[in-house]
Amino acid sequence: MIVLEKRPQPSKAWSYATPLVAVLATMVFGGILFAILGKNPIEAIGTIFWEPLFGEFAFYYRPQLLVKGAPLVLIAIGLSLGFRAGIWNIGAEGQYIMGAIFGAGAGLAFFPMDAFFIFPIMVIAGAFGGWLWAMIPAFLKVRFGTNEILVSLMLVYVAEQMLASVSLGLLKNPEGFGFPGSRNLQQYDSAHNAELIAGSGMHWGVVTALIAVIFAYILLNRHMLGFHIRLTGEAPRAAKFAGVNPARLILFCLGLSGALAGLAGMFEVSGPSGVVSIDFNVGYGFTAIIVAFLGRLHPVGILLAGGLMALTYIGGEIAQSQLGLPAAAIQVFQGMLLFFLLAFDLLTNYRIRAARSEVA
């Protein structure tokens, strides 16, 4: 019989090793899954993990990694601060949409003027839009004790309706021949979040994501506010005893995660996407939740996890088109990754021991 024995304190070695072990286990079991589907498992795994980075068309896929990874990391960093404190913002998708609407709206308000200050104003407006949307669950929680999980999640669907409404109305391209969707910001220089180095995929959103990682790292490890965030998550009563004001922490964590999600939406709409349209959002806000946990709520971990997630997305698409793997198989593969991560996570706090099954 196998028993789990609680470690006196969490194992450092395992907390670093579990993500790697989880990726390996995903490869093994994913390979078995692909084999059952009648594909060559080594080829399939190779396509997913190798092709985007070093394959024949890597010059096209590598920039895509940054484009897909940046919003995931940016949103996940914001979410992770709240998750650390036990504040569950599940509605980053909605804040992402609102950031895009506010950012694009601010830019389009100046159309066709050309000026250096338009883009910075859009950045601020995007962050404000996301912040505002996150303040609704934050305020309701502080004032009336509502559950932020439900409120923030419901507001995603409200934001989607708003997106549809502005795509068809307020922000609709007057020269768009009646098609839904805004003017293309890629064709409006002052508002375009262009690549900083052509062909690299590196745009302002990527830079912001990296800054957010550094900022979060310093906040959590070197600042009282970060200490209070961690303390609240680990022992709420001790946090109250230490003098943490829970309401202020809720406003800060939800507000910051909303602002970062809004920024991600703004950089997406003004760059890779270019257009406010009904199908603008593709689920970055939800996937970022997985990224946050995959990265163990640690800023550097999230950076790596965002990259890994982007890799499985792009690799998964390649595997679909080249090997004819069904999309569902790719989703199962991604699900396995999260499952194994959470399962192996147990080893950080417990050790496995073979028990003698005797009765004294």
């Binding site: 022992a235 009563r237 001790a238």
Partner: protein
């Protein structure tokens, strides 16, 4: 010689890093009240958990009436006639007595039948209890009755009681003892766990003393002095903390008309509390657990805000200040619950030193943390209070209860408070550590700190406090000088028998 009811032979149980029980053997006779005596951490709980089937021994055997007995789970132990009343009750506040009892049964009878059986049993044993009352409204003594009746419904041969009197007033203890005596006269054996020596001397026929997991001696309590038993428990002569006659200064803490609702639903609201503590004075606050102790500590620490002038510190109104602002002024507190309230379990000792030390020890500047200074503050606590740990980078939960308690108290004492409020400072702490903590509190008072010590250990309060008051249902009795107080007077201050009907056996 007759076969004993239960015979333990060479029971051993080891946990990683500690041997909880080492070759423990003793017998419990039929109809005998057998005391299991020992300090916290001596292995009493592990031993009874083995008898009750919660823990499997590594080696050794048990014989129940001569038959091998190895319960794989509590259900099997109960089927063999072993019942246990735990120190911490497992009752649902929102359900009534009968429902709570039904929840613990294998095949509960219809509610009406159960209620009448509860009435029958409770009256036979002098424990009057209405099966339809909501548990949330019961006093601690009445809740214990629920647990006892739950056991008696199984008609047990051996009743195990783990520290049953820690939640009772002296008057309630007397009622309990009458019930236990009646059970004994009917042939039920009782294994009575306690570290309260006088109780054991009045109640028990036989005592087994455990120290560091080993059986270090047996005695007949009625013929042994309390001091001898204490020294067997501790293994050395006891050192009583020194206190010199002290002069008190001006009033440092002035609480007047303090009333606050409890933050938790089944907590106790504080009602119109008045007290003053002078510089250098130790005010002891006794009372049965759950009578407002947590709420009083919260109100004094700033976790619960009150009317501004309900609490005054050196004349300054501080009722509306939060914990950080009060720490800055010099009002420090140490809550009862070490893990989760006074300290964060999974954080290192360094981080836990920061938890309350940041303001007074200057461990932050402009919000940025000074980890090097914080670490040396943690090291200072560890060395000054003899905290046994490999170093400050270890998680709080890796420390034993006594060591963590020394750390938590030391963290506040070393910050030179003007007022120190402690709740249960030596709960679950071995005798040597308890003596060190009490001495630290007395030393602090000698330097002019006003100390409020909330505790359920009356002996401790008599030992260290200059004046004594008792909390009862959220009300505080008027403080009186400790010298000259009798046990009866203290019992009455604590609320007497809480209007509980006296057992009519």
């Amino acid at each position: 010689m007759t076969t004993p009811l239960l015979s333990l032979q060479g029971l051993t149980k080891a946990y990683p890093g500690v041997v909880a029980n080492d070759q423990v053997s003793f017998d419990i006779g039929e109809g005998e009240v057998h005391a299991l005596l020992g300090e916290n951490g001596a292995g009493k709980s592990t031993l009874v958990k083995m008898i009750y089937g919660l823990v499997k021994p590594d080696s050794g055997t048990m014989l129940l009436r001569g038959q091998p007995f190895a319960p794989p789970e509590p259900r099997a132990a109960r089927a063999d006639g072993i019942a246990m009343v735990f120190q911490h009750f497992s009752l649902f506040d929102a359900l009534n007595v009968a429902e709570n009892i039904a929840l613990g049964m294998e095949n509960p009878p219809p509610m009406g039948d159960l209620a009448s059986r509860i009435r029958e049993v409770s009256e036979t044993y002098g424990l009057p209890l209405d099966p339809y009352r909501t548990v949330g409204d019961l006093s601690a003594g009445e809740r214990q009755r629920v647990e006892i009746i739950r056991c008696l419904l199984q008609d047990p041969k051996l009743l195990i009681m783990d520290e049953p009197t820690s939640v009772l007033t002296p008057q309630e203890v007397e009622i309990l003892f009458e019930t236990l005596n009646k059970l004994r006269s009917e042939g039920t054996s009782i294994l009575y766990i306690s570290h309260k020596l006088e109780e054991i001397r009045t109640l028990c026929d036989h005592a087994t003393i455990l120290r560091l997991g080993k059986n270090v001696g047996e005695c007949v309590p009625a013929e042994t002095s309390a001091r001898d038993m204490a020294e067997m428990m501790v293994g050395s002569t006891l050192q009583t903390p020194e206190r010199s006659g002290r002069e008190f200064g001006e009033v440092a803490l002035d609480v007047s008309g303090l009333s606050v609702p409890s933050p938790s639903e089944f907590g106790t609201a504080l009602k119109n509390i008045h007290m003053t503590v002078r510089k250098g004075e130790v005010l002891g606050i006794g009372g049965v657990a759950g009578n407002g102790q947590d709420e009083l500590l919260g109100a004094l620490s700033g976790e619960i805000l009150t009317a501004a002038d309900a609490i005054k510190f050196n004349g300054q109104r501080i009722g509306k200040l939060g914990p950080t602002a009060r720490r800055k002024l010099g009002v420090l507190t140490a809550p009862e619950e070490r893990l989760g309230h006074a300290a964060a379990p999974d954080m290192s000792l360094t981080e836990n030193a920061l938890l309350t030390g940041s303001v007074r020890e200057g461990l932050e500047s402009n919000g940025f943390l000074k980890w090097a200074e914080t670490k040396s503050f943690a090291e200072k606590i560890i060395s000054a209070f003899d905290v046994r740990t490999p170093g400050p980078e270890n998680a709080a939960r890796s420390l034993s209860g006594g060591n963590l308690q020394k750390f938590v108290i030391g963290r506040e004492v070393l910050q030179n408070p003007d007022i120190l409020v402690v709740n249960q400072p030596t709960w679950g702490v071995d005798a040597a550590a308890a003596a060190a903590i009490r001495q630290a509190i007395l030393d602090l008072a000698a330097k002019g700190t006003a100390v409020v010590c909330i505790s359920q250990d009356l002996d401790e309060l008599m030992e260290i406090s200059d004046s004594f008051a008792a909390l009862n249902e959220g009300r505080l009795s008027a403080p009186r000088p400790t010298t000259g107080l009798t046990v009866d007077e203290i019992g009455l201050m604590m609320g007497g028998a809480h209007g509980m009907e006296v057992a009519h056996v």
